[in-house]
Structures are given as C-alpha cells and as structure tokens.
C-alpha cells in the first residue's frame, strides 16, 4: 500500500500546485477498465517471430525512446552446432512481474506496482540513481540518457485504457505477440491454456507476466 499512497499524494499535490502535467484521472472509453481483478500480460509465440524488428521500432517511436536505448528488443538465439544454423528470435521486454525485484531498491518510491499490476515508473519522482536498473534480472530497464531517469516498457499504459493495443503488438506482421487481460476469457488466456508456455527465468520467482510458447533456451 505504501507505493500507492505516494502516487496519490503526488497527484493531489500537483493538482494543488496548479500544474497539468501527468496523472490525469482516466475514464476508460473502450477496451480495458483498470481494476484490481485484471492482470495484463503477453503471450508470445516464438515460432511466429522472424526477427523483423517491427516491434522494436514501433515501441521506440511511440514512446520516444532515445537512440541506442530500447524498451523492447528482439534477441537472436542460435542453437547448438548440431542444429546447424537454426536461428530463433525472441522478443523481450519488461515482464511486469508479480513479484518485481525492481520496486524495493528504489529509494524514492518512483517505481511501484499499480493496482492493475503494472510495474510503472513515475518520471517526476525518479532521481535516476539506477538501482532498479541493476535489480532487474531481465535487463529490461535502462537509464534514459536524455532525461537522466529510469526507463522501461510500460505495456503502453497510455494506450491500452483507450482501447488501443501496445505499439509492439500493433505493428507485428505475424501476430507473434498477443496482449490482454490474463484473467479474462480472450485470445491470450485461450492461447496460454491451449499451448505449453514458459516464462523467462522462472527460478527467480518473480512471476513474469509474459508467457512464451516454444521458448527453448534460457535467454
């Protein structure tokens, strides 16, 4: 609860201070309504990804990610020598873990887990100390060289509540990525139910919310 308290304090402060930046209360028009019961996540079929990097660029343009930094990446994995040349591409980004390791180290509470389960960064609070960057076992965070603060995938939270898909899902030519509420009955939950899925590094017990099909190797 302590994380949430801070956020709301800040929002009220801003209201009082008469500024209009950030933290505008949302009334969802279509698509998702943010409730505690929902759990956003991704289902990624690695066999459908052919490393076109469309998601990488879509994310960078949508979120104005500085050059040479990436919120989403596509990893190229080559199998062992006996599999001769087999290449797999794996899209990776912030897992929005249920047990995030990046929240605790933050000295100012800028990183927190919201009521909708998304792990977010409050840009106005972050001091750019980089502790969360080091704490993430998935290497999903980076220090924004322009703003000097932490940056990472937000599941495009500025889009999803108005019925839009995250930019990376939108651009994918092969529908390798599917986004949605894991608790509802929809394409993502059906796919996860019907296919054998795994998460990256389950041994960290962070409970990632990106489920991969055909994730063969530890990456």
């Amino acid at each position: 609860m302590s994380e949430k308290k801070i956020v709301l304090k800040k929002r009220d402060f801003l209201k009082l201070a008469g500024t209009t930046i950030a933290a505008i209360k949302l009334l969802p028009k279509s698509g998702f309504t943010a409730t505690k019961s929902q759990k956003f996540g991704f289902y990624i079929d690695v066999e459908k990804c052919y490393g076109c990097m469309s998601c990488v660029i879509a994310c960078a343009e949508e979120n104005h990610v500085p050059l040479n930094s990436f919120r989403t990446k596509v990893k190229r994995v080559t199998e062992s020598k006996k599999d001769k040349g087999k290449v797999t591409f794996v899209p990776v980004q912030c897992n929005h873990c249920e047990n995030p390791t990046c929240v605790k180290p933050c000295p100012v509470g800028a990183t927190y887990k919201g009521p909708d389960g998304l792990v977010v960064i409050d840009n106005d609070v972050c001091i750019g100390c980089g502790k969360c960057v080091k704490a993430c076992p998935y290497n999903a965070r980076f220090l924004d060289p322009i703003k000097g603060i932490a940056n990472k995938c937000s599941f495009c939270d500025h889009r999803i509540y108005s019925g839009k898909l995250p930019a990376c899902v939108e651009s994918c030519p092969t529908s390798a990525k599917i986004f949605g509420d894991l608790n509802a009955i929809n394409e993502i939950s059906t796919n996860i139910k019907n296919n054998k899925t795994s998460v990256r590094f389950p041994e960290f017990k962070t409970k990632p919310k990106i489920y991969y099909r055909n994730l063969l190797k530890k990456i």
């Binding site: 929002r11 201070a17 599917i178």
Partner: protein
C-alpha cells in the same frame, strides 16, 4: 522512505517550500480510487492520413499520425494501414490470425481508433526520410569539378533556364548544353517550318525504307550507300532552306537508324511509381527520345524476362492465401516482396500449419514456423539443377498433369477448366538449319498455315484442329521439300534434359540432398494445383538468372497450377487513370521517335545499319563494342553507363536521373563513376533527388524533390503478384504533410508550389514548349469533355 522522498521533492519541485508543506500535511487517499488505475493517457488530438509507403518498393499501406506542433503539422508516427491487404488488420479482441484487411466500407473513424495494421520497421521509420537533416531544399548547381562536392544554391528560374537552354559552370568555365539542343521538333518549329511533325514522320519512313533495302538480300552495299546519300541530300536541301542542317536533327546523318538527336537525352529512374512514370513518359515522348529508362537490371530484370518468355507476363507468384505447399526460392524472408509486412501472412499460415514452405536459400530461415518452414540450403546460382532434379522425379513418378499438358490449344482447354494451354505437345525440330524452331504445318505440307504441329494417333495435325496431342514423341519426319528432320515434342525435350542426369547428380550440382529433392517434388505434386514456386531475386539476380527462373516455372507448368486457386497468379491489374477523366498520356503534337536505346535492350542488333552494312560488305558483323539484348524485358543500369562510356551505339548528351543511386545499387556500380565524372561522355547530368547520394554527387544540377510523405511519387500503386494475384486492389499515395522543399510559386488555383519532380517537369516542359505542358495542354474526357486545363 517518506522522509527521503520529501527531501528530494523539496529540491526538485518549483516552489519547494510550499510543496513540502502540502506533502507533509496530505491525508491518506480516498478509498473510491483504490480500484482505478491512474495513468497518463495520451490525449493529443491526432490527424490520420492514409497513404502508401515507399520505404521499399513493396508499397504497403500506411496510416500517418499527424501532430500539430505550434501550428505546423508534423509526422508523429507511421502505422500500418488496416485497409491494405499487405498490412492486414487487428484489434484488441482479434489479435491472433492477422490474415485479412478490414472491409473497405469500414468508416475511418473506426479504423483510426480500433483497428491497426502491421508495418515493418523500415516503413515506420519513414519519418526520417522527410526530416532528414541533409535534405536538399533549394536547387543546387555544381561549383567545382564533377564529384568535388561543391555546390551553390540557385533560384528555380535559373535552374529551369539553364537546364533548358544551357549554362556555364563558373568555377571551371565548362559550358553545359541545354535540352533545347536535343529537341529536334523545337528546332524545326523555331526555324519556321510549317509542318515539322510531318518532316520527322517522313524521315522515319525514309529510314525504314533504307533498312528494308539493306535487309533485302538482293541489294548491294552500294545500293544502300546510295540510298543513304539520297536521303541525306533530300533532307539537307529541305532543312537548309530555313538555315538548319541534318546534323541538327539526326545523331548521325550517315546512320539515320540511330534516330534523332532527342535520343541523346535520357530520362533514367530508379524506383518507378505509377504517376511519376506517366509524368516522365510524357516529357520523354513530347521531346521525342527513345531513352526513357528504368533500373530493372539492378532490380529483377531476369525474373521479369524469364516470366515474360514463359507466360507473357512479367510478374507471377503463387496465391499465398490458398497455397498448401510452396517452394520459396531466393525470396529472403522479410526482405523481398511482399516485404517484412506482407510476408507476415505467409509465416502465420505456416506457423498455423496451413502452408508448408521449402525455403531454398543459402541462408537459414528466420523461423521454422513449427517445422513448416523447411530449410533447403543450396549453392548460390545452382537452382536450375534443383528444379531439374524435381522435374526428373516428377517424370519418373508420372506426377505431371497429363490432363492439362496434352491439350494443345485454348479452344480445347475450355472443357478442362484451365486458363491457358501449354505447348507441351507441340513438335520442335531438333536438327538441321531449323533446329530449335517449332515444326510448322506449311513445312510439313499438311496445310498452308504457319502454325505448330502436334502428333495424335500416328498422324500430324495442325495444333488448333485437335483436342489433344501426344505428350512424348521423338522421330523423323519428311518435310514438304523432301528434307528429313528429327522432331520431338516440347515435353519430350524437357524430359530428356531432366533425365540427362541422375537425381544424385542434380543433387551434387545444387548441393541439395537427393532425398530432399524427391521429398520436395512429392509434397508439391501431392498438393497440386494448390502449390507452386515462389521465386524471386535470390535466384534471378545471377548471370544465369533467367534459366533458374524458367527451370522453377517449368515445374508450375508441369503441375498445371497456372491461374488456379493456390497456384500461380499474375500481378493483379490496376485502373488506368491516364485516359479517364483527363487524357494525360497522349497529346497531339508529340513527335515520332525511332532508334535503339542507349542500353540496347529490346532491340535487335540485326536491325541496325551497322550490322546490315557489314553483312553487305562481306565483313563479320558480330563482335560489337557492347552487346545487344533483344530479349530483355526491361532496361539495364550497367549497359546504359557502358553505352555512354563507349558512345555506343551513339554519344549521349544529357541525362535526368530520378530516385536512383546506380553507383551504390548496381553490382560494381563504382565503375559508372568513370562515365558520370566525365563531361565528354555525359555533358549534362541533372539529378532530381531528396538527398545527394553516391551518384548525384556527380550531377551538374540538383533539383530538390519531395519525399513520398510530401507530394513526391503520389498516385496509384499497384500490388505485386507476391500479394497473391487473387487480390484486386490498388492503393493511392497521398501527401501526408506539406513539403519541406522551397516554395517556388503559386498554382493557378492558388495552391503553393514546392520544388519537386512534378513542378520541375511542368516548368521545363513549358520552357521548351513541349506538347502536353502549359495552358490548355490537357484535354478533358467523360464529364470533363470539352474542357481543357
């Protein structure tokens, strides 16, 4: 933690003291907010413009997101166009199976907010073409030696004037010719001839008469020389009445077959987009040059040439919506048509087990799509051996479509539900001086017609008088003149070729395991006709490219998949807007043109006076300065610049290059620098471009062009066959934002005119007085009939 935070806030926030007080006094937050997420939602009001991409020539649909920044519209992001068959559509509750675009009657309000199309990274990055910091905004003129990289900005008026009538490079003192020097019709008009078009028409006719005389085996070399001399004196005396000489009109009065001086001007383009092509052809046609050239040798000329030879169509690919097995050869995943965006459909279908792909390529596929993409590594350029191995297997196992192949003509085919017949049963002469030609009815004496012959029930018949022919036959026939020749059916020849090597040998040449060749052939024939070869530049862009493509495409003919669902389909047609509301392709007052192109494609050397005179004089006509390419479907970069370099078949004087970078994009294109940097080989070089690249650095003048996101290359875009020829659709490229190039004036209707390809040709055409340019040049049609604009 709280304490820390407050300290930081003190330092960070404006009005720190006030802030700190408020923070410390704030109560716990309202309970009703608990279940609501607080997110900064994007509330910017965007404008969306639907258009076509040109990051690569696949031309997917785009949806440009426009943001208003301080009163100026800028491109914020480029998304996929959900209406376009390449991009296909998805929305929040329909993300899996991105197969189809949204119905065309979906309102844009819905498409803007709910639907999305996919788009490759290059297309999304299109913003940088427009906002590239090194864009050419103003007209530039060379201010040093060619290639030195020194430029001066000039006015639009000076640019048009100097390109039309000649200019001087101040730094070097070089005098550049103007295009008016290369406009014979203009010269005749200026000299005061009453009917200049007629003069040129007569000249062409007389030239044809000279060639006809030279082709006549009875005439002597002297006869032809006399005829040329007669031609020269006739026109010299006519032209001298108004102060002109034949040299002003013809490239070489002794070689009238080379055409008029207009041929010494070339328009050369890289990427061709519908309406820019209409525009530039108008200019070339009105000037009278034969040299309207394309970059196809650096693109897919061999692919086009081979398809054209087999099917009469340049672009054919399997119907990727319905095919079950596809041999995807030399079509690099994500890189070739239909691009990273369009190929998404193929990969999805494969991953969903609807399509099996044999990925014939020296490099590995980028996914195996649940083992439905099978990698067949091959030695580069050895595809014909693989294809012939498959053909061998098809013959050995009788898996060819005999029902289709045995039909020799179109009329008989109707009963079988195939689109077009093959010539599998037609007989070919395989020895003697007619070797390689079809056996003709009149040669055999069974009819007076010059038609092919097929064999049926031990009898020879004219191909269109019979419903079926024998597929395999080899034997001797006696011709009407008593000569005996060996004949074989076309299919027999193919079979013998395929059988000339064992499967192991074909495997050895191509580097593919014979077992794999057999498996491919089996899978393909089992799925026929919902199967085909998806071949592209990887196999075509070799020196043996045509043979590779022909070999693969023979498999398609053997299984009879042409124009079948899931089989081979041609590029879908598109509307021809050039004769619709306005007649914008043909203008009265355009001069006749003749002669070979500088790259000698689509022209027979045997039709030139060079060849004919050598034959007449008893010299060996073969061994020319550069080769001729009568069968080539389109033009060649290499041969254009080689032609300019060797001044063969004639000297070039001026070139306008648009949307191209031959130095970078052709194999060993750096060799072209020898031509481009030499003002003797190419006295005037004008570039129309958005940026100065490796080729334009040698230009004399640079015309600033607009990108495809401004006004450049706007207009109709057809779909390539790789989209599945089943889709009848065409997209339209619209301007997305105002051009960044200099404003050069105002149109008659008050719109601002910005420097671009279009405005350049309009003003240059007007300055030269070309037909089709200027006031009242364009005639209205249909509901505009009688109007002129």
């Amino acid at each position: 933690m709280d304490k820390n935070r407050r300290d930081f806030m003190k330092q960070l926030l404006i009005g720190g003291a006030v802030g700190a007080t408020i923070l410390s006094d704030l109560p716990a937050m309202a309970k009703d907010e608990e279940n609501k997420a607080e997110r900064p939602q994007d509330k910017t009001e965007y404008k969306y413009v639907y258009s076509s991409c040109l990051g690569c020539n696949v031309r997917c649909g785009i949806k440009a997101r426009i943001k208003n920044v301080a009163g100026q519209e800028i491109i914020d992001r480029i998304e996929g166009n959900p209406y376009h068959p390449y991009n296909r559509a998805a929305k929040i509750d329909k993300q899996d199976h991105k197969y189809d675009p949204i119905p065309y009657n979906t309102p844009t309000s819905e498409a803007n907010t709910k639907w999305v199309g996919s788009l490759c990274p290059r297309g999304q990055d299109g913003i940088h073409y427009t906002y590239y910091p090194y864009r050419v905004i103003k007209p530039l003129k060379r201010a040093g030696k060619r290639g030195e990289g020194k430029w001066e900005a000039i006015t639009w008026e000076q640019l048009i004037k100097e390109i039309a009538f000649g200019g001087t490079i101040e730094a070097t003192g070089e005098k550049l010719p103007g295009i008016a020097d290369l406009f014979p019709l203009g010269k005749l008009k200026k000299a005061g001839f009453e009917n200049p078009l007629k003069i040129l028409e007569n000249m062409k006719k007389d030239t044809e008469a000279i060639i006809a005389l030279a082709e006549d085996k009875k005439s002597s070399a002297l006869d032809v020389s006399n005829k040329i001399a007669e031609f020269k004196s006739k026109y010299e005396s006519l032209l001298s009445t108004k102060g002109l000489s034949l040299k002003d009109i013809l490239i070489d009065p002794d070689r009238p077959d080379l055409g008029t001086v207009a041929n010494q001007f070339a328009y050369y383009r890289g990427r061709g987009q519908g309406h820019t092509d209409y525009f530039s052809t108008n200019f070339a046609n009105s000037l009278g040059t034969i040299n309207w050239l394309r970059h196809t040798s650096a693109c897919q000329n061999a692919y086009y040439t081979a398809n054209k030879a087999l099917f009469g169509q340049t672009d054919l690919q399997p119907d990727i919506y319905s095919a079950k097995v596809v041999i995807m050869a030399g079509a690099q995943m994500g890189r070739l048509h239909p691009g990273a965006t369009g190929q998404g459909l193929i990969i999805q279908r494969a991953a969903n087990k609807e399509l099996k792909i044999y990925y014939v390529n020296p490099t590995a596929p980028r996914t195996e799509a649940n083992e439905n993409i099978i990698w067949v590594p091959i030695k580069p350029g050895k595809d014909a051996a693989l294809a012939l191995g498959m053909i061998r297997w098809i013959f050995e196992n009788n898996k060819y479509n005999a029902e289709y192949l045995k039909v020799p003509n179109k009329l008989a085919l109707k009963a079988f539900n195939y689109a077009t017949p093959s010539n599998a049963t037609w007989l070919v002469i395989t020895n003697g001086d007619k070797q390689g030609q079809f056996l003709k009815a009149k040669d055999l004496g069974i009819s007076t017609e010059n038609k092919a012959v097929v064999r049926f029930n031990n009898e020879f018949k004219v191909f269109d008088t019979i419903n079926e022919g024998e597929l395999f036959f080899a034997g001797e026939v006696t011709l009407a003149d008593g000569k005996k020749v060996e004949v074989k059916t076309s299919l027999q020849i193919l079979k013998e070729e395929a059988m000339s090597k064992t499967l192991q040998e074909w495997g050895q040449i191509s580097g593919v395991d014979p077992k794999m060749i057999a498996q491919m052939a089996k899978d393909l024939t089992d799925a026929a006709p919902q199967a085909g070869t998806y071949v592209h530049r990887g196999v075509a862009m070799h020196s043996n490219g045509e043979y590779n493509i022909i070999s693969y495409r023979l498999i398609d003919i053997l299984i009879g998949n042409y124009h079948k669902k899931g089989g081979l389909l041609g590029r879908a047609g598109h509307s021809d807007y050039s004769h619709y509301c306005y007649e914008i392709a043909k203008f009265s007052g355009q001069p006749v043109k003749w002669g070979p192109q500088i790259d000698r494609t689509k022209f027979k050397y045997e039709k030139t006076l060079e060849y004919l005179m050598k034959v007449k004089k008893g010299e060996n006509p073969y061994g020319t300065i550069r080769p001729w390419y009568p069968l080539s479907a389109e033009e060649s970069y290499t041969e254009t610049f080689a032609g300019m370099f060797y001044k063969y078949p004639y000297q070039m004087k001026a070139m306008i290059l648009h949307f191209a970078n031959p130095v970078l994009s052709a194999n060993h294109g750096v060799k072209f620098i020898d031509t481009l940097s030499d003002t003797d080989k190419l006295p005037l070089f004008v570039g129309i471009t958005t940026t100065i690249n490796e080729t334009y650095i040698y230009a004399d003048y640079i015309v600033p062009d607009t990108t495809y996101l401004e006004t450049g290359t706007s207009g109709i875009q057809y779909l390539y066959a790789t989209s599945g020829g089943a889709t009848v659709a065409e997209s339209w490229r619209s301007p997305v934002v105002m051009p960044r190039t200099e404003q050069i004036g105002v149109s008659p209707k008050g719109h601002p005119r910005h420097a671009s390809f279009y405005e350049f040709f309009i003003d240059l055409g007007k300055a030269l007085g070309l037909a089709g340019f200027g006031k009242d040049a364009v005639e209205g049609k249909k509901h505009n009939a009688g109007k002129k604009i």
